[in-house]
């Protein structure tokens, strides 16, 4: 399957999963809101140029926004993590080996530790920014921090489960593809 087709299917699946399953989950606790959709952005291929990455993330966030009725709310954090992603990847992976031989970020292509760090930092930034702009009008500090940390923890847990369930084949880039 081509990378483009695979990512289009993922786009649809992540939106559907977030809107129709995760957003329907009754709130377990006031700190916890399950978010998984942004994993799509973290999984986009390495070789995508940075402008395309920004635009795709913006459109992806906006699509979700039109389902929840808040245009711009998820689009803003999505563009933020898409902007930060290349810097972080440059720091975390050895240029020579990984980026040339693997297609997209994953525990196989980067190793569990750098990949975990990559996911953890971007997840935290995403939630921090999301809760911040969601809350510009009101809020108290402890609730704010609690919500960011709680949401980040539940997202990381879900991402871990997703990584275990759907083992993506760490495909080597070859000349034929």
């Amino acid at each position: 399957m081509s990378s483009l087709l695979k990512n289009i299917i993922r786009f649809v699946l992540f939106i559907v999963f977030q809107v129709f399953i995760l957003n329907e989950v009754p709130p377990l606790h006031r700190f916890i809101v399950p978010y998984l959709y942004f994993l799509y952005i973290l999984w986009l291929p390495f070789k995508l140029n940075r402008f395309a990455l920004l635009v795709i993330s913006f459109i992806f966030g906006l699509t979700l926004d039109y389902f929840t009725g808040t245009p711009g709310l998820h689009a803003a954090p999505c563009t933020l993590i898409a902007y930060l992603r290349p810097f972080l990847l440059n720091l975390l992976i050895p240029q020579e080996t990984t980026e040339q031989s693997y297609v997209e970020p994953g525990p196989k292509s980067m190793g569990w530790a750098p990949y975990g760090l990559y996911i953890g930092i971007l997840t935290f930034i995403h939630h921090f920014y999301l809760v911040l702009i969601e809350w510009l009008q009101f809020g108290n500090l402890i609730y704010f921090i609690g919500k960011v940390l709680g949401t980040t923890a539940i997202s990381l847990l879900m991402i871990f489960i997703v990584e275990l369930l759907f083992t993506r084949i760490g495909r080597y880039r070859s000349n034929t593809a």
Binding site: N23, R50, F58
Partner: protein, 283 residues
């Protein structure tokens, strides 16, 4: 000039990032004010049709609960039928008809329109409902929405066949309410913490409030008819620095499983709102 182009080329990614951020924030800022742009309306139709399909699937799981609610409501309405009341024999007959004006000079002010809920969120800070009823079926912006058990929200966006309702569980939602016991009025808001509880703010400390008191919609609202159920008082917080109570209200509406609601049309809405918003000329 050349330097400007060089600068733009060098920071192209950063600039496009800033541009998209600003765009997103502006959209978010406008979202709560204007809902009438063409694009929002078109997107509304698209997401609405997805929501409908999903809702068809979901509604099977809720049939039992929906039936129970409708049966309860029917029972309550049947109890209100004029046939159930024995009037003293004064030779008059009460007839309720569907005319907009009856011979006694009563004018119909509120009309209830049933609608199916096709989309509903309650986990976010800004929650909305999607209803399958739009301008083609007589829905206008600002109509009140109530469920079988209590009020739900206000229509903020309408397309041809769908409308979007700002739920009470929205941080910008404000509904005028009063205590049923002594008619002390206040404002219903949501603090974004628990979807089962709302806040009733600005209730005077002169009111004798106790836990379990009923809270209903007030006479002052332009879109809600008075005396619609909202909830019951669950906790009382009295701030020593102000003259007002802030009451925690347990909603009677269960926002987790709303299936059918009623849109309430106030035939005098435009007239009332126009007069309220136009500044008075008298100093």
């Amino acid at each position: 000039m050349k330097n400007i182009f060089l600068f733009i080329r060098q920071y192209f990614t950063f600039l496009s990032f800033l541009l998209l951020q600003v765009l997103a924030i502006v959209m978010l800022g406008n979202a709560s004010k204007t809902h009438q742009s063409f694009f929002a309306s078109a997107a509304n139709e698209v997401t609405g049709s997805f929501d409908t399909r999903y809702s068809h699937l979901r509604s099977y799981f809720g049939l039992q609960e929906t039936n129970r609610l409708l049966a309860e409501e029917n029972a309550r309405l049947r109890n209100l039928l004029p046939a159930n009341f024995l009037s003293p024999n004064t030779g008059k007959k009460y007839v309720i008809d569907s005319l907009i004006k009856d011979s006694l000079g009563h004018v119909r002010k509120f009309t209830f329109l049933p609608a199916k809920v096709v989309g509903n969120t309650y986990t976010l800070q800004a929650n909305f409902l999607m209803l399958e009823r739009g301008t083609a079926q007589g829905v206008t912006k600002g109509m009140a929405v109530t469920g079988p058990e209590g009020i739900v929200g206000v229509v903020v966006e309408v397309s041809a066949n769908y409308c979007r309702v700002m739920s009470l569980l929205h941080r910008n939602s404000k509904v005028s309410a009063m205590l049923k016991k002594d008619n002390s009025s206040g404002t219903i808001e949501w603090d974004g913490i628990d979807p089962s509880y709302l806040l009733l703010k600005n209730v005077t400390k002169g009111a004798k409030v106790s836990k379990g008191d009923t809270v209903v919609t007030s006479n002052y609202s332009a879109n809600f008819p008075p005396h619609l159920m909202i909830g019951t008082v669950a906790a009382i917080a009295s701030e020593s620095s102000s003259n007002f109570y802030t009451l925690k209200i347990k909603t009677t509406t269960n926002f987790y499983n709303i299936q059918y609601v009623y849109l309430i049309e106030n035939t005098r809405y435009t007239e009332q709102v126009q007069l309220e918003t136009n500044p008075s000329k008298i100093p």
